[in-house]
């Protein structure tokens, strides 16, 4: 058994996740944009910071308007902390080591999570008095406060720098954009690795379980009907028939996608009992139809991945009868 294949990839939505924040969170974030920390006085008198849409104890709605909103801080007290010796590039707001802390702003009864830029782990403790270091450019986002910094006795916090609103800026913050990128190294697994090696040799390698005649190409490792491992390797043909298909009229679905319009299809390969995805070329998209016999067009350079099969082309053979593929639709 050759070494199992793995592939590195990044799960990412270019431009980040856009989220509507709603009126309660929106008002808090608008406050940050203005250089102020806002809290809400709950029915029991406690001041909630940062405000949530519902009272965390009673679930009563928190009104986005009204006179229960007050400004808190800007000075706060560290309630709990930990030290981040190795900041995460592209994620953390600071590139140098910092503390994460739960900070209770003066006038609040709850604490908010944020960064404390204090130089070293021994420069912070529970009870340390801290104040926000505001960014000059603020958009209504948690990192409008770049970090909190310890205050010496009697030291006054630095007010937020005045910012000039953009002309098209909304009066209230209604949404945020959160960049998210996660890196993975996924394992193909034993069965898919066998299949991928086949691709590099111009073969389509399927597999079946000992107690079934059903052949899967490719197999993820089990017979999905029974859960039995597909331990028996079976080569299937690179010919088959179209079971179902669609004509794609949307450009740019992937880097490998051809010019639109093109047809993609499920293909029942000869010798397999499940369908195989492929593009159909070599004929007009108007000519693609269920039952059409097709054959794989292999790339000149074979590799252990799906680029080895460029597309499927019509063979000109008579159509497969409906009975042949009716259980694969």
């Amino acid at each position: 058994m050759p070494q199992t294949f793995s592939a590195e990839r990044v799960l990412e939505y270019p431009g980040g996740y856009t989220r509507s924040v709603g009126p309660v969170i929106g008002r808090f974030l608008t406050g940050l944009r203005d250089g102020r920390i806002l809290g809400v006085r709950l029915a029991d008198g406690r001041v909630l910071v940062p405000p949530t849409e519902y009272d965390p104890t009673t679930s009563a709605p928190v009104a986005a308007d009204g006179d229960r909103w007050i400004e808190v801080g800007p000075i706060g007290t560290v309630q709990a902390f930990t030290w981040v010796a190795e900041p995460r590039a592209g994620k953390h707001a600071l590139e140098r080591p910092f503390a994460f802390a739960l900070i209770r702003p003066d006038g609040a009864d709850t604490a908010m999570l944020h960064l404390v830029d204090c130089g070293s782990a021994d420069a912070i403790t529970i009870g340390t008095r801290v104040a926000p270091r505001w960014r000059a450019e603020r958009s209504g986002y948690m990192t409008d406060i770049e970090a909190w910094v310890p205050l010496a006795d009697g030291e006054q916090p630095v007010p937020a720098p005045v910012r000039v609103p953009a002309e098209d800026e909304e009066a209230e913050v209604t949404g945020i954009t959160v960049p998210i990128a996660l890196r993975f190294v996924n394992t193909a697994g034993e069965s898919t690795t066998r299949y991928l090696h086949g691709m590099a040799e111009g073969k389509i390698i399927g597999a079946r379980a000992p107690h079934s005649t059903d052949v899967y190409a490719s197999s993820r490792g089990t017979d999905p009907k029974t859960g039995e491992p597909t331990s028996i390797e079976v080569e299937v043909a690179d010919t088959g028939c179209v079971t179902t298909f669609c004509v794609v009229n949307i450009p740019g679905l992937s880097d490998l996608a051809p010019e639109i319009p093109y047809a993609s299809a499920q293909i029942l390969l000869d010798g397999a009992d499940n369908t195989f995805f492929g593009l159909i070329r070599g004929c007009s998209v108007d000519e693609v139809h269920m039952g059409m016999r097709v054959k794989a067009k292999w790339a000149d350079e074979l590799k252990p991945d799906h680029t080895s099969i460029l597309w499927f082309e019509p063979t000109g053979e008579p159509d497969a009868p409906y009975e042949h593929y009716k259980d694969n639709l």
Partner: protein
Amino acid sequence: MRDVAVVSFACSAVAEDPVHNETEMIVPVVHEALTAGGIPKGELGFVCSGSLDYLQGGPFAFVAGLDAVGAWPPLRESHVEMDAAWALYEAWIAIQTGEVDSALVYGFGKSSPGDLHEIMALQTDPYYVLPLWPSMVDMAALQASAYLEASGRTDADLAEVAARSQRAARSNPIAVRSGDVSAADVLAAPVTHAPLRDADIPPITDGAAAIVLAAGDLARDVCERPAWIRGIEHRIEAHGLGLRDLTRSVSTRQAAEAAGALGGADVAELHAQFSHEELILAEALGLDGSVAVNPSGGPLAANPVMSAGLIRIGEVARRITAGEAGRGVAHATSGPCLQQNMVCVLEGGN
């Protein structure tokens, strides 16, 4: 209430499985649980799983997990995007309805393909917390900081927990971290996420677990000594870390009271991923020195995410079925800093 019992349990864990995909990893565990459970797959009333698509980074990744069970003829099936202890809870409810008499529950997850500690930031609220990217360990360390301050305990207490876990894990075949370790050994290592050391932080683990549940006479037929579920409850607290008291676990206490878990036990298996969590949970559950806590080593010894909670139930059940314990308490948690907690009481007898 119908009497429902755990009749079989299987699990696997390794630090990293670079060979098998998730489906291949689940197969032997499900097979072992089904074989030991004695109920043919075709006669199972319900199948429920727990996993987290973010671990693979694939939308609907959990669907492929069902290929390890086999879904033809069609099954009654469900999934929770949580630890599989909550899948067991759903299965227990399904059996309580009287619609079904048995269930297969399984959980799986590979922590090694991505950065687990970073991924777990995505379970926090996306407005106030996620933009700051606190890792799973950062959040736990904040709770440890608050707990030590409030309780007067020190990192020496954490080290006792960590060391005992590693010593206990020497007899656990799926432990990925174990050894003849003393608290002094633990304290000799550097603090990595103040106030936590690496030994206080669960090891990255790939693994799976499966349990078969059966009701009443069916359980008695297939298992000589079923582990009966005498109570199972879960409670949840506010998600905001600064909105709740991190120094104690109110929801664990509430779940334990509702489940009848405060009446003593021979063994307790706690889903304590970090040393301080075991101390907080033991206080909430009223466990004194007479109860063997995490004799398996617990999640500090092996932490296959999304099955580590189910494994706690399985570990207690296994000891009852083996006749080593008469009554036990299993705990599972979900969310950052013990946000949501389940308590399950299991007993032997008929």
